[in-house]
């Protein structure tokens, strides 16, 4: 029970902290309750949000929904409280009784109040200017423009989430599921040894290259600031191309246009 309240409280704070929208919601519900004459509208705009607030905080329903939805996403139950309907409706009830000009002035003022009650979504905090039609980081596009299609690649973790969004014909050695290997200190699994080696600032080619070859990684893409122990050509790879941020290496056996994509059953 204590766990439930802890999760519910944390999620609730995460959903409403840093703004006045929740107090505004409660005031709106009260205002609609007092002013709305249509009982069914009152039920929908006061009763329904209050019901879902109750469902969210009540341990019996809450624990059930935590099990059904999952503890990590329990906060999504709060989506059922329609802030963008209840608050505007309450404000409109307030505006209803005003004459034309008074109404428009009050509307502008109340829009200002609503804006001040929250924090802007369209801000630099979340967004950055897009430089390409894919809306992906430009350094990813630059690498993709250099890589051929239909190849298997092992790429820096900085590129891993985006490469296939730019060119889905490329198969990758690692996806996000491999991030769990971070922190492993000792392992005998080749897949993990290879992953851990490429995370190092100084990569030992004697470790990396044989494993990468064995896994069929025709192309390797690492940050430019990495240094290497050994000579690439001695281990069957050579430098293929580079961008400001990344160096691309290719298997010496790779032939232009060859399909080296990987498929494991």
């Amino acid at each position: 029970m204590q766990d439930f309240f802890e999760i519910a409280r944390t999620d609730f704070a995460a959903a409403f902290a840093g703004a006045w929208l929740f107090p505004l919601l409660l005031v709106s519900i009260l205002w609609i309750f007092l002013k709305e004459k249509d009982k069914m509208k009152k039920l929908l705009l006061c009763g329904v949000p209050l019901l879902f607030l109750f469902v969210y905080w009540c341990p019996f329903t809450g624990i059930l929904f935590m099990k059904l939805l999952g503890q990590n996403v329990y906060w999504r139950l709060l989506w059922l409280i329609l802030l963008a309907v209840v608050i505007p409706y309450a404000v409109c009830i307030l505006l209803k009784g005003l004459s034309d000009i008074q109404r428009q002035v009050a509307f502008v003022v109340l829009m200002g109040v609503l804006a001040l009650a929250g924090k802007p979504v369209l801000s630099k905090e979340w967004f950055e200017p897009s430089t390409n039609v894919y809306k992906l980081p430009q350094n990813v596009i630059e690498v993709c423009e250099l890589l051929p299609s239909n190849i298997h690649a092992l790429v820096s973790n900085r590129l891993m989430p985006y490469i296939r969004q730019c060119d889905p014909t490329i198969t990758l050695e690692y996806g996000r599921n491999s991030l769990v290997y971070n922190g492993i200190t000792e392992t005998e699994k080749e897949e993990q040894i290879l992953y851990l080696e490429v995370q190092k600032s100084e990569i030992d080619l004697a470790v990396l290259a044989p494993l990468a070859k064995k896994q069929g990684c025709t192309f390797l893409v690492f940050s430019s600031n990495r240094t290497y122990i050994g000579n690439w050509k001695d281990y069957g790879y050579k430098e293929y191309a580079s961008t400001d941020e990344f160096c691309i290496f290719v298997d010496l056996d790779y032939k232009e246009g060859q399909d080296t994509r990987k498929w494991e059953e």
């Binding site: 703004a19 609503l114 996000r176």
Partner: protein
């Protein structure tokens, strides 16, 4: 072009659905949102068995497109009724030129233009957007692990709600990479669609006061642009990730369910329940959360209706409308637990 296909196609499809359900396809917005819900419901019906039976993506594209073209032609056949409705709309168009509507329009335009020139990097796109990319690239629906493309995968959590296949379908038709469709084009479809639903809600709440309808819409838009808490709160999805199924659920589908409830207050026709059922089924496509939250919203609201009006049929009819969600919900729990 994508906007033209989506809004034009859903408009005519909505008219067909309204005709079948004997609900008046009033105005322009109502048939569009009904059409959109029907498209998604139809997609869920076709996509689920095709995914399970290892159908090809191209096969799905052909089948889905042919059925939609059929519905579209059905809509065109009813052109007389549509023309009559459009005539009424055009006669009343001036009534919607209110201060509130202008403010709402400017805010929506600002949101769309800002999003067009900016990007938000969504960590989960590496799964969902690549799921669409993989469908177009490999011709498989869902059976390839999208993050690497290098092995077969079947994540039970998402199989019932393959929303990315919707924009993969659009991508295939327009010959655009799904990444571009999701990040750059889809916001121009989903954001207006969401505000159409709010426009309809405003229309029902203030049926006789057009100015208040506009003001209601402007405030609804504003609340999507000013957030509380973390960036993953429901309303902010519309700006941050309008291409993600969960975002569409929070900002289009749940408000649409509310709109159905508003309609239920006034008229309780069989057709209205069918439309509610279509919306509920459409919600299943968007996200597994849609499978869960739709019956909770409808059930909770209908419970209140039933208690207040002392008629149990609100609850039973509501649950019947959510039957596909309930069935898929049980199957989801079976798959994941």
């Amino acid at each position: 072009m994508v906007m033209g296909l989506f809004f034009g196609g859903t408009f005519f499809s909505g008219h067909v659905v309204c005709k079948i359900t004997k609900v008046r396809a009033e105005g322009v917005l109502f048939p569009i949102v009904v059409g959109a819900m029907s498209w998604w419901a139809l997609m869920e019906i076709l996509l689920l068995p095709m995914t399970m039976l290892h159908g090809t993506f191209e096969g799905f594209v052909v089948l889905y497109s042919v059925v939609l073209v059929g519905i579209f032609i059905g809509g065109l056949l009813g052109w007389k009724g549509i023309a009559r409705e459009l005539k009424i709309v055009s006669r009343r168009a001036k009534e919607y030129l209110t201060f509130g509507h202008v403010v709402a329009f400017l805010l929506i335009l600002y949101q769309l233009v800002y999003l067009h020139h900016h990007m938000y990097l969504e960590w989960d796109d590496t799964y969902y957007v690549n799921l669409a990319n993989e469908a177009v690239n490999s011709n498989w629906i869902y059976w390839v692990y999208p993050e690497t493309g290098a092995f077969a995968d079947f994540d039970k959590r998402y199989v019932l709600s393959l929303w990315p296949i919707f924009y993969a379908w659009l991508s295939k038709i327009f010959g655009v990479l799904p990444t571009i469709m999701a990040h750059t084009i889809l916001p121009w479809v989903i954001i207006p669609l969401s505000y159409m639903v709010y426009g309809l809600i405003g229309g029902k709440l203030f049926a006789r006061d057009k100015e208040l309808q506009g003001m209601f819409l402007a405030m609804a838009v504003l609340l999507h642009l000013f957030m509380s808490g973390e960036h993953t709160a429901g309303l902010t999805f519309l700006s941050i990730t309008p291409w993600v199924g969960k975002g569409v659920l929070a900002t289009v589908l749940i408000p649409m369910l509310f709109y159905h409830m508003l309609r239920m207050i006034k008229r309780e026709k069989k057709g209205e329940w069918i439309l509610l059922g279509l919306t509920a089924l459409g919600g299943c496509l968007l996200s597994s959360m849609g499978i869960m939250l739709t019956p909770v919203f409808v059930g909770g609201t209908m419970l209140l209706f039933s208690v207040y009006r002392k008629k149990v049929r609100y609850l039973t009819h509501g649950m019947l409308a959510c039957l596909p969600c309930l069935m898929l919900g049980v199957y989801y729990l079976y798959l994941t637990h």
